[in-house]
């Protein structure tokens, strides 16, 4: 039963327009995380024409790496801001390494054996879904695994309540840096959006300008010719997974700074969203992943404002369908291989 006072305009345009910047900037910050995770999907797709569905777990392992590193370094509620910056910087490196490591393991065990035997794409897809479940459940059952080795007490913080939410032990403070219309843009917003943009530019330039980047583009365009020209395609695929993992690790750190807690299944929904962002922007296209992520983040928040938060996914996915109706290959629909240096 809705109280009469709650009968409001539907869709609620006044709410969105009165708080336009608030909905938009926070949406951009959320979208930045989508964008960084989307890169992993889009790069692997560009090179292998495969959807790496286990990429969501690559991200999830990164979030746990952040929580554990900060705890290991002694972070608690009393930690000063200066120390926090160092801890998070170290945590970011550890998260990138962890995510990259998981991505490389995936490539080695879930993909390479299949690609070598020329297995159909569908088989690789199922392999990825299987790997995704295995990785998530391993994280969810880590208390049991620690129990086998008699380490439950020693590793209590790391493994206890393993199917439950695990929070950062530090409180990352937020300060308002400047005001934009109705909204005080916070340090976290700037950090998240700024870092995501920087990482994107770095990756984009790397793929466009470096020798390995040329190799990646060559394999994406035509794997056989690339091999004939002396490109080591196994190495290229490895580097592609590695870069996707590094970006997911960065995304995990930014996610933990913004949200502050994670769970063994935290990758799933975020992975679906990031994959959507990749398709929206044009899968296989790096700049498209960024644009798709940001558009999706903002669309969700606008949808929340207009129709109520429970409608945000419907709004976002209707938007996806509309975009694909008019641009079937996504907003910037250009494949990785076609990007020119």
């Amino acid at each position: 039963m809705v109280h009469p006072a709650l009968v409001q305009m539907f869709p609620d345009f006044p709410l969105l327009f009165d708080h336009f910047f608030s909905f938009t900037v926070t949406g951009l910050a959320n979208g930045s995380v989508y964008a960084l995770v989307a890169l992993g999907y889009t790069m692997v797709y560009g090179v292998l024409q495969l959807i790496n569905f286990a990429h969501s777990e690559v991200f999830m392992y990164g979030t746990f790496a952040v929580v554990w590193t900060v705890y290991f370094l002694g972070g608690d509620k009393q930690t000063s801001v200066g120390a926090m910056v160092w801890m998070l910087a170290i945590a970011m490196v550890v998260a990138m390494a962890t995510s990259a490591g998981v991505a490389l393991l995936l490539e080695r065990f879930a993909y390479r054996p299949l690609i070598k035997r020329d297995a159909p794409k569908l088989v690789a897809l199922i392999s990825a879904i299987g790997a995704s479940f295995m990785l998530a459940e391993t994280m969810g059952l880590r208390s049991e695994i620690a129990g086998w080795f008699g380490l439950s007490d020693k590793l209590d913080f790391y493994v206890s309540r393993s199917r439950d939410t695990k929070g950062l032990t530090i409180d990352v403070p937020q300060t308002t840096v400047f005001t934009l219309g109705d909204y005080g843009v916070t340090s976290t917003d700037i950090l998240v959006i700024g870092s995501a943009l920087l990482m994107m530019i770095f990756l984009d330039q790397y793929v466009r300008r470096s020798r390995m980047g040329r190799g990646i583009r060559a394999v994406a365009q035509d794997p056989e010719s690339a091999a004939l020209m002396g490109v080591n395609s196994t190495r290229v695929v490895q580097v592609t997974f590695l870069l996707g993992g590094v970006m997911a690790g960065a995304a995990a750190t930014l996610y933990m700074i913004r949200i502050g807690a994670t769970k063994f299944d935290a990758g799933f929904i975020l992975g679906v969203k990031a994959f959507t962002a990749a398709v929206m922007g044009g899968i296989g296209n790096l700049r498209g992943a960024l644009l798709g992520g940001l558009v999706l983040g903002v669309a969700e928040n606008w949808g929340s404002a207009l129709f109520g938060t429970e409608w945000k996914d419907i709004v976002a996915f209707v938007l996806l369908v509309f975009i694909l109706l008019f641009r079937p290959s996504g907003l910037l629909g250009e494949a990785l291989g076609k990007a020119r240096a």
Binding site: M1, H3, L6, D164, T165, G167, R258, G260, A261, T309
Partner: protein, 378 residues
């Protein structure tokens, strides 16, 4: 509507008779060895049905620990004639609970059951237990509709959601003195039901509502709406993971009102997920008394949590009946229906629908990164 009911009654009576006969048989076989056990029947079992693994394991283990304490006390007192506990791990899932219920009613030695713990599984298994005449005492199923099914075997030792919502509303406007309240729910059966109840009781004090999703982690849109509505308090109907994240994001955005949520958020996981100091969590469940908490910790190696004390009370209701010599399902059901004694959470006496008398709702404050023992809401 009458017809199936009569049938169920007949079936229950038939089952009870069959059981009584079986029970007689066993007594005859083993009666000679333990003539001194007198009043208490031996080798009987009680069951516990609830989550022990899976996503709701923490809540389920809180309850199992409480049952363990009651059983340990009983078996120490009746060391010559112990009762054993049969655990049914439903993971809180109605689909998993249904076959377990069938298994439970087929076990002749099992004459009473603590649980099922969640409303969904209770709803799904209720007919099976009613038909078999197996008495159940739930420490945590709070859906109000459960007691309206006419199951003679259904009992619960805590107030239902209909008692929690008005109390939470009284707490928000009375104790906290809030004039404007924002109500958020997670669209779940439980969360929406509780939030609707609170909103109804609050009436005109509710300025706006929003619905979020389970497993959502970014609440920036809701935060913007709450700040825009300029409210003194927010009530969240849902579970602790989302509640913790939402409260944290509200505080980070500079919101200074009071965050209030219900029993679904009353778990240390609320703090893990970022639950902020100064929040209040309401629950029809009572805090654990100190001596019970000490025994719980000694036996289970963990602190008691939400519903631990209720589970102890539920198990005690059944065990005291067995101690008084009620060694059949029929006799134990009768015992529970006529139970009238103090438990550690409240005075326990059931009405004909299985609802317990003397219900009170408690508000638990979050302070210093801990959930403090609850205070009754006046």
């Amino acid at each position: 509507m009458k017809h199936p009911h009569t049938l169920a009654r007949l079936a229950a009576a038939a089952a009870a008779t069959a059981l009584a006969l079986t029970a007689c048989g066993t007594t005859d076989d083993s009666g000679g060895d333990d003539g001194d056990s007198g009043s208490a029947a031996c080798d009987l079992k009680i069951g516990y049905m609830g989550a022990q693994t899976g996503d709701y394991a923490n809540l389920g283990l809180n309850m199992l620990g409480g049952v363990n304490v009651a059983l340990d006390e009983y078996n120490t007192e009746h060391s010559d004639c112990k009762v054993t506990l049969e655990k049914y791990d439903s993971q809180g899932d109605p689909e998993k609970a249904t076959p377990l219920a069938t298994k439970a009613v087929q076990d002749d030695k099992l004459i009473g059951l603590v649980g099922p713990s969640f409303s969904g599984e209770t709803e799904a298994t209720g007919p099976t237990f009613a038909e078999a005449g197996l008495v159940t005492v739930s420490p945590s199923a709070t859906n109000p509709a459960l007691s309206t099914n006419g199951w003679d075997t259904f009992h619960r030792v805590l107030g239902n959601d209909d008692t929690q919502a008005p109390a939470a509303a009284t707490f928000i406007t009375g104790t906290l003195g809030a004039k404007k309240v924002f109500v958020v729910d997670d669209a779940s059966e439980y969360g929406k039901g509780l939030a609707d109840g609170v909103a109804d009781s609050l009436g005109g004090a509710v300025t706006d509502r929003d619905t979020v999703q389970q497993k959502q982690t970014d609440f920036s849109a809701t935060v913007t709406k709450v700040k825009a509505a300029d409210v003194d308090a927010l009530f969240y109907g849902g579970y602790y993971a989302e509640a913790g994240l939402l409260s944290k994001q509200l505080k980070a955005a500079g919101w200074t009102g009071t965050f209030v949520s219900g029993d679904g958020s009353l778990d240390p996981g609320f703090i893990q997920a970022g639950g902020i100091d100064g929040s209040f969590l309401t629950c029809p469940c009572a805090p654990s008394p100190d001596d019970f908490a000490a025994k719980f910790k000694e036996l289970n190696g963990a602190d008691p949590g939400t519903y631990s004390a209720e589970a102890y009370d539920a198990a005690t209701v059944l065990l005291s009946g067995i101690g008084e010599g009620n060694d059949t399902r029929e006799a134990l059901l009768d015992w529970v229906n006529n139970y009238d004694a103090d438990g550690i959470t409240k005075h326990i006496k059931f009405d004909e629908t299985g609802e317990v008398s003397g219900v009170s709702v408690f508000a638990y404050e979050v302070k210093g990164g801990k959930i403090l023992p609850g205070e009754p809401i006046e």
